[in-house]
């Protein structure tokens, strides 16, 4: 099987209030267990199953489920790339990862980063999948508390204020970006001069050049313009 689509009213029409689920897992036994678990709860209809990436992309594109339950370890391709492929094939779907993975692994964080709405490790009790689906249906992420802590730890590494990032290619020079970054942290001319080991006059001239290049007339406007500057490389 690459994929199978369930026919009949339960699948196609999906009774009112039923959430349409696609099931993607290379292991027939796992699919069977999930299917049985969903059958014990109201509100969920499985519209089709797939056991590899190609089948999953086709299935999701054709059936447009609301939620995809996804094992990341698929034959011939493991990893989070499949999440991006599914989201490309059917934008707006929610991808819930239910996979053999270590909750502390980079893989779990990566899955969330590329767009999964939740990650449930397969060593959880099988009813965890229904709890997770309920959360997703309420519009909440389905992330175990342990993984939430991993997310917090990851975000602690970021700079506290300022813009932090800039485009690789830019009309502004490295020095000018440093000035903007300090400006975004609330620094005035004197503080910028001290931080950059230059004179006030040099800072003024950097600021003047930044405003000219960005086509603005005040520091506040320059900061507001960074958003567009950083989006357009």
């Amino acid at each position: 099987m690459s994929r199978s689509q369930w026919e009949g009213p339960a699948a196609g029409g999906a009774a009112a209030g039923q959430t349409r689920i696609a099931l993607v897992d290379g292991d027939p036994l796992a699919r069977c267990v999930i299917r049985a678990e969903l059958a014990r709860h109201d509100g969920y209809t499985i519209v089709g199953e797939a056991d590899d990436v190609r089948g999953a992309v086709e299935l999701v594109g054709e059936t447009r489920p609301e939620i995809v339950i996804l094992e990341l370890q698929l034959p011939a391709q493991a990893g989070v790339r499949v999440i991006e492929q599914l989201l490309e094939a059917a934008p707006g779907i929610e991808v819930l990862v239910f996979s053999l993975l270590d909750i502390d692994s980079e893989l779990a964080l990566d899955a969330l980063r590329v767009g999964a709405c939740g990650v449930i490790p397969k060593d959880q009790r099988v009813d965890a999948i229904v709890q997770a689906l309920d959360a997703v249906r309420r519009g909440e992420p389905a992330i175990p508390r342990r993984l939430v802590l991993r997310m917090i730890e990851r975000l602690r590494g970021l700079p506290d204020a300022g813009i932090g990032m800039r485009p690789v290619r830019s009309r502004l020079t490295t020095r000018e970006w440093e000035v903007l970054d300090l400006m975004a942290r609330g620094a005035g001319t004197r503080e910028m001069a001290a931080a950059m080991f230059v004179s006030d006059v040099t800072v003024y001239s950097h600021v003047k050049n930044i405003m000219r290049k960005l086509g603005v007339h005040s520091r506040a406007e320059a900061l507001a313009a960074i958003g567009t500057e950083t989006i357009a490389p």
């Binding site: 980063r113 508390r145 802590l149 975000l155 602690r156 590494g157 970021l158 690789v168 490389p233």
Partner: protein, 234 residues
Amino acid sequence: VPGVLRPLNGSRPRIRVVIADGDPLARRVLREAFQADTRFAVVAEASDGIEAVELALHYRPEVLLIEHAMGRIDGIEATRRITSRTTDVRILFFAVRSCEPTQLSALRAGACGFLPKTAHIPDVIDAVRCTVRGEAVVSSRIAACLLDRLRALPSAGSGMRPVSSPLTPREWEVTDLLSAGRTPEMVADELGLAIHTVHSHLKNVMRKLGVHTRAGAIQAADQLCRGELLSAAL
């Protein structure tokens, strides 16, 4: 470190807790709740932020329960001071009212959870046990905020780089294209450089980032973009 307290009946050591709250009544309610449970031992109580820092660093409890609005320094500043010295103490926040930015600041400062002051005692006890297991205690709204922020994190190969970094603009251009999956030949072509120039940029990037392979450079650049290497590399 003071001796490990053991419950009368079993072998598992108690979870050591420090309570920091400006309100003596609130401290008493919590202390009595924990003392009624043999899994916990309240080893100290602090009435302001400075005391919280001192007691947390002295006793190194498994969990510090800390009220956000305290005298002298607030809970977030106290958390910063504690986590800059030790990562062993897990910090759980209490607040009467707390907006999302406050909660996110507390988490960034080093807290691993946030409870409303209206939380019931069994929930507080449950939350303390979760933090000991290495779990975060946050509302689903905060989890959603964290997820948004995680997704907004830049990665190498996206055309973005940190403002401050040990690499030159040219080295970033080369690294960014390599991270986006280009070969050195394609990079040379795209940037109008000779192939040996690309290789020498790459060699400098590897030296500066302390790695020995192109894959290592790509990974390190990605970490730079996520802010993980900033302190190490600068």
